[in-house]
């Protein structure tokens, strides 16, 4: 469990944020642009140290464990993940095993087995030898996630994985993430699409201007009032077949 309490930071601004990431759950961080979502996720990943507050991972202070130990526990995918060299799909997924390079129990055979399993699980068998930049946006997103999965971490922190993807790829990526939670991984994901957040997250954390406005189940967090006060728009929130749906009230100028 990653447990962050009373996180405060000046630039970018965060003010007294609490968040808990549990195994077997998909936790969603939502909120308008500039709310502090990415900063919070980077703190949970150990990339930014908060000015004050505590972050513990499995009851240990997150910033007391070494970078290599943290890397074995937490896989982090940044927003707009970028690949600087035109490597093959297999090479990129193999790079996820980098975190185990000092692990005496690891071996090239284990690395190969894990990478083969991830390729199978993410459905990249036909693409392993393809160069990353010849792939479609959806395929690239799956490769990036596969790299993180080959770490075999306990925590998967993902910053906006579906931005600029077509709807089918959005669902594909979200299904892949929720599948990890069913395998008892702790998944925390930043999402801009409230409908996808409502559909795939077990609990939500709504941030606005560096403050945690509300957290809890989808029903507790996503209400017309909350959407109006944080996003400044009117929206209808309905429940269809047990699923919360958010429909913005459009006011198109004619």
């Amino acid at each position: 469990m990653i447990n962050a309490t009373d996180i405060c930071h000046s630039l970018p601004f965060l003010d007294g944020v609490d968040i808990v990431i549990r195994p077997g759950e998909v936790s969603g961080i939502i909120g308008p642009n500039g709310a502090g979502k990415t900063t919070l996720l980077k703190m949970l990943a150990g990339l930014i140290k908060p000015a004050s507050g505590n972050i513990e991972i499995d009851n240990m202070p997150l910033f007391d464990i070494s970078g290599s130990q943290r890397a074995i526990r937490i896989a982090y995918l940044e927003q707009h993940s970028f690949v600087h060299w035109p490597l093959s799909v297999r090479q990129l997924i193999e790079l996820g095993r980098f975190v185990h390079r000092h692990n005496p129990n690891n071996s090239p055979a284990v690395d190969k087995q894990v990478v083969d399993n991830v390729i199978e699980q993410v459905g990249l068998n036909d693409l392993v030898d393809r160069q990353f930049y010849t792939l479609s946006g959806g395929e690239r997103a799956r490769v990036i996630i596969a790299r993180a999965l080959s770490v075999q971490a306990f925590y998967l922190l993902v910053d906006e994985p579906i931005a600029s993807l077509d709807l089918n790829f959005q669902l594909e990526v979200m299904n892949l993430l929720s599948q990890q939670a069913t395998n008892n991984m702790a998944v925390c994901v930043i999402l801009h699409d409230l409908n996808l957040a409502a559909a795939y997250c077990d609990n939500l954390y709504l941030l606005d201007q560096g403050k945690l406005i509300r957290h809890g189940t989808v029903e507790q967090v996503i209400t017309p009032d909350i959407i109006k006060s944080t996003f400044g728009i009117n929206a209808n929130v309905s429940k269809r077949q047990g699923q919360i749906e958010i429909t913005p009230v459009f006011s198109r100028l004619k």
């Binding site: 150990g46 970078g67 943290r70 890397a71 060299w85 035109p86 490597l87 090479q91 790079l95 980098f98």
Partner: protein, 328 residues
């Protein structure tokens, strides 16, 4: 995960390097007679002197300098995630050159102090670039800082040339700046070898971290790369290696820039797979370039830095045109 193909490539390059080295020590303006070198106890015969005091140190210097340029080029391209990066992009080569020129300006031709000055100049210039760019610098800011420090160093060298006390001093400085292996001595090699090998080891030890940088710094840190330690190691490694070579050879361009490009069709783009092959290929290319310099020159010897630029420049243009659509 190492591949057999990688091991085969390294072996093939090592064999090729040995062959070129053998050719390099035996071929020159004067045909050497092995009998006069190895079968007599007298090591002051002309052939023995040419072999031990000129050919061998010169060829060894070509190997050490070429390997350094190839390796540092591959490291710099991997570290900056930029295929157009050269070993001296962040000011380290011009820093080493400036400090060497300062010593030469004051007539200090010491085989001991020149490499020290080179390493110091390289370290100061590189540290200056990193401090200027800041700890969270984007690649663009880092490269721009390098360009700025390179410009300052170039201006300072031009000033020294301008103020040189005699036309002969100007000529000496100018020729030194164009690069040459002709001044190689056993003393130079013995002084440069220790910092050089330490620099190589530091750089070779971080290939996997360069691979992780493929995803950018944030992801690399999340994968357990200690980015500050990596930066410091690269600064020290580059300073030792480049700083030890430049005072002896002068400035030799294009080898470090071009070598990784020649190899990528074979090794692929993973930075760690380029390091050892780049060092071997750099050594091979500089040996061949030096052979051409020795065989083509009559009278005033063609400077090797001029040759590598004359051949390397158009070669690089051709590479860009050929691969411009797929170039990374």
């Amino acid at each position: 995960m190492k591949s057999p193909a990688q091991a085969t490539l390294v072996l093939a390059l090592a064999i090729l390097l040995s062959a070129v080295f053998f050719v390099s020590i035996w071929i020159g303006p004067i045909e050497l007679d092995p009998a006069q070198i190895f079968t007599t106890a007298d090591d002051t015969t002309p052939h023995a002197l040419i072999f031990w005091e000129i050919r061998l140190p010169r060829s060894l210097l070509a190997v050490l300098a070429g390997a350094t340029l190839g390796l540092t080029g591959a490291v710099m391209q991997g570290y900056l995630r930029n295929p157009l990066a050269s070993p001296g992009l962040l000011g380290n080569a011009s820093g080493a050159a400036l400090f060497s020129v300062i010593l030469l300006y004051f007539g200090i031709y010491s085989a001991f102090w020149l490499p020290i000055a080179g390493m110091l100049g390289s370290f100061i210039a590189l540290t200056l670039v990193l401090l200027m760019a800041g700890s969270h610098a984007s690649l663009t800011v880092l490269i721009l800082s390098g360009v700025a420090v390179n410009s300052v160093c170039a201006a300072a060298m031009a000033l020294l040339l301008n103020l040189a006390p005699s036309p002969w001093a100007v000529r000496d400085l100018y020729l030194w700046m164009q690069g040459s292996l002709s001044n190689a001595s056993t003393t130079d090699l013995m002084i440069m070898i220790v910092p050089l090998v330490i620099g190589w080891m530091l750089l070779l030890g971080h290939g996997k971290s360069l691979d992780a940088l493929t995803f950018g710094e944030d992801t690399a840190v999340s994968m357990g790369v200690d980015i500050k330690k990596l930066r410091i190691t690269i600064v020290i490694g580059l300073s030792l290696a480049i700083g030890a070579v430049i005072p002896v050879t002068g400035i030799i361009g294009f080898i470090g820039l071009v070598v990784p490009h020649i190899l990528r069709p074979v090794t692929g783009y993973l930075p760690s797979r380029l390091l050892v092959p780049s060092a071997l290929t750099g050594a091979i290319l500089l040996l061949i370039a030096d052979l051409f310099v020795r065989l083509l020159s009559s009278g005033q010897e063609l400077r090797i830095g001029v040759l590598t630029s004359i051949v390397g420049g158009p070669f690089f243009i051709a590479l860009i045109i050929k691969h411009r659509k797929s170039l990374f």
